[in-house]
């Protein structure tokens, strides 16, 4: 008679623990499911219907046809190419500069904490206020950037109002079309982005450098390796997971770019800074085309997911399986 009684008590305890767990999970899961999970599925559904102010008829893949090859294709491919250009400018520069800074900062020295704090400061500053400062620095009439250019004998530039390509300007108008390069406006936004995120990458690289065992360095020094050899043969290869991680995080951030574009250029001049993130905002919010906006958002999401997948393969070791 005693055994079933214990079994019942045991079962009751398991039941109680299950109930408690579900109660604990409910508030978080309810919010996450509605706003962050089902929302993602709903975007796919919206992209399959005609949907401007109110939902209309089912249209299958017509919206995709429209965005990829039809009436909306020009703006879609244009904004995608702006997004990719912006990514290609910002990500490699962010990586190179932050890697060098982190490497220099890594060695024990005086003032290390102050440098790190200063480098990190832009990252914690809100994008909006910081972008307003950069607009002022790049002001065509009174901006500090033009003062610098004047010091080295270059005439004033229109910066964020300049639709002409960087290489077009440098070559004095000799280069046009594709070789003209990104507009000076996009370069200006990119400079802001690099400034804003560099401290973040430095901190990640510092953490990565801290994970490399000092034994490798000691062994290399005993063998008479030069500082440069140590950097290229030991630090860089052993740091590559971190570098890869920083690259994917920075790429995802660049693909999402909206706030700085909205403040600094509003997608202009001549649409040369109209990223996909801005284009989606324009289409669904300013034009009221929920369907087209959702279609573009789904396409952007697929692109982001590709990089998220890479990021997860590295990140799972950092956060998810503690």
């Amino acid at each position: 008679m005693a055994r079933p009684a214990i079994g019942a008590a045991h079962r009751r305890r398991i039941l109680a623990e299950n109930a408690l767990a579900y109660a604990f999970l409910f508030p978080a899961m309810a919010i996450l499911l509605v706003f962050h999970f089902l929302g993602g599925l709903a975007a796919v559904v919206m992209s399959l219907f005609k949907w401007d102010i109110v939902p209309g008829a089912f249209r299958g893949l017509d919206n995709y046809q429209n965005v990829l090859f039809g009436a909306r294709s020009e703006e879609f491919w244009h904004s995608l190419s702006v997004t990719i250009t912006y990514t290609l400018i910002t990500v490699p520069l962010e990586i190179v500069v932050s890697l060098i800074l982190a490497y220099l900062l890594f060695q024990k020295m005086r003032g290390r904490g102050i440098y790190r704090t200063l480098y990190y400061l832009p990252y914690i500053t809100s994008v909006i206020a910081a972008a307003v400062i950069f607009n002022w620095l790049m002001n065509p009439n009174y901006g500090f950037f033009n003062t610098l250019l004047e010091l080295v004998g270059i005439g004033p530039q229109k910066w964020l109002d300049e639709p002409r390509g960087l290489f077009e300007l440098i070559s004095g108008g000799a280069l046009a079309g594709w070789p003209a390069g990104p507009s000076l406006a996009l370069v200006g936004v990119s400079l802001f982005t690099i400034w804003h995120y560099i401290g973040f990458q430095v901190v990640i690289f510092l953490a990565g450098l801290g994970n490399i065992s000092t034994e490798y360095y000691e062994a290399a020094r005993l063998d008479g390796a030069s500082e440069r050899q140590i950097f290229t043969k030991i630090t860089l290869p052993l740091l590559s997971p971190t570098t890869f991680f920083v690259a994917t995080v920075a790429t995802i951030g660049a693909l999402k770019a909206f706030n700085q574009i909205y403040i600094m250029t509003n997608g202009g001049p001549l649409d040369t800074t109209r990223t996909l993130g801005y284009e989606i905002f324009h289409v669904f919010f300013q034009q009221g085309r929920i369907d087209v906006g959702a279609t573009m958002a789904v396409l952007l999401t697929l692109l982001i997911l590709l990089f998220t997948f890479f990021q997860f393969r590295i990140a799972e070791r950092r956060v998810f399986y503690g």
């Binding site: 403040i263 929920i290 958002a297 999401t301």
Partner: protein, 286 residues
């Protein structure tokens, strides 16, 4: 950590030049990075005429402190700051509560479907804000009719996968012996959570709090879409509006940027340990 432990005497002068060179590079970069802040500050103190002089002055000739008062009085800043403060408190407290409970369930409770729910959480974490933006906008404005309220800036952010993961990871590191000692049964979990787990998790709780609150302070796109009136709009929208209205008054614009940036800089300088550690540990980029 990996300091160059070379101590042979003849290497010393070379080492010293190297150190000096390193400092030169690091200091130069620091100046470039800090310069925009300096430029903001000195412009904020200049008169309009001095601010628009070309070439500009590197230090204001007179300190026009009244610029800050003028900028402050020219827009509904007290309202914007109050709104942001209220939203930040609500989101941070709410998110902490939901995340602590969920993280505890994942870390210390056994229940049916744990693996499946955890996978669902991972899937949710993968879905970017770009995908959920339009559906959420339609949901809150058309169906829930929450447009232009403070609630609409709070409710969607009352839970965060990132916070759950971060806390879960920490809760897992608390030794089982402590749970055994507390003799945890079905009814004792809340008490164990409150009196053992949470006190042992203060640093990570501070990190989550700061990251969440700073995230709210910086939020821009969502409030831009779902609010219309100053009565509910937050600080960053106020900043964008101020720029549109006073865009040519550069000295006032920079004064406004100064008091929008100041609170986060102060918080950062006092709590950077928690923020930088949190970022280094998790690799989250807002």
């Amino acid at each position: 950590m990996a300091s160059a432990a070379v101590s042979r005497p003849r290497d010393l002068p070379r080492l010293r030049t190297r150190t000096v060179l390193k400092h030169v590079v690091l200091a130069a970069v620091a100046i470039v990075i800090a310069f925009p802040f300096y430029w903001m500050l000195i412009t904020a103190f200049k008169s309009f005429f001095e601010a628009t002089r070309f070439p500009p002055t590197l230090f204001p000739e007179e300190l026009h402190l009244e610029n800050f008062a003028t900028a402050w009085d020219s827009a509904a800043w007290p309202r914007f700051f109050t709104n942001t403060f209220v939203i930040a408190i609500a989101v941070t407290v709410g998110e902490l509560v939901t995340s602590i409970l969920a993280a505890y369930a994942f870390a210390r409770l056994n229940f049916k479907g744990k693996g499946a729910i955890f996978m669902l959480l991972l899937a949710t974490y993968m879905i970017p804000g770009e995908a959920t933006l339009i559906p959420n906008f339609v949901l809150v404005t058309k169906y829930l009719r929450l447009g232009d309220t403070l609630q609409v800036q709070v409710i969607p952010f009352l839970a965060s996968v990132f916070s759950i993961f971060l806390l879960r990871q920490h809760f897992l590191s608390i030794p089982n012996e402590l749970a055994d000692a507390a003799k945890v049964d079905g009814s004792g979990h809340l008490r164990f959570l409150w009196s053992v787990v949470l006190p042992l998790s203060i640093p990570v709780l501070v990190t989550v709090t700061l990251i969440t609150a700073l995230g709210v302070y910086d939020s821009f796109q969502w409030p831009l879409l779902v609010t219309n009136s100053d009565a509910v709009r937050p600080v960053q929208i106020g900043m964008a509006q101020f720029r549109t209205e006073f865009g040519a008054q550069y000295h006032l614009e920079m004064a406004a940027a100064t008091f929008v940036i100041a609170p986060v800089v102060v918080v950062f300088l006092f709590a950077q340990r928690y923020l930088i550690q949190g970022v280094a540990r998790t690799g989250i980029r807002g």
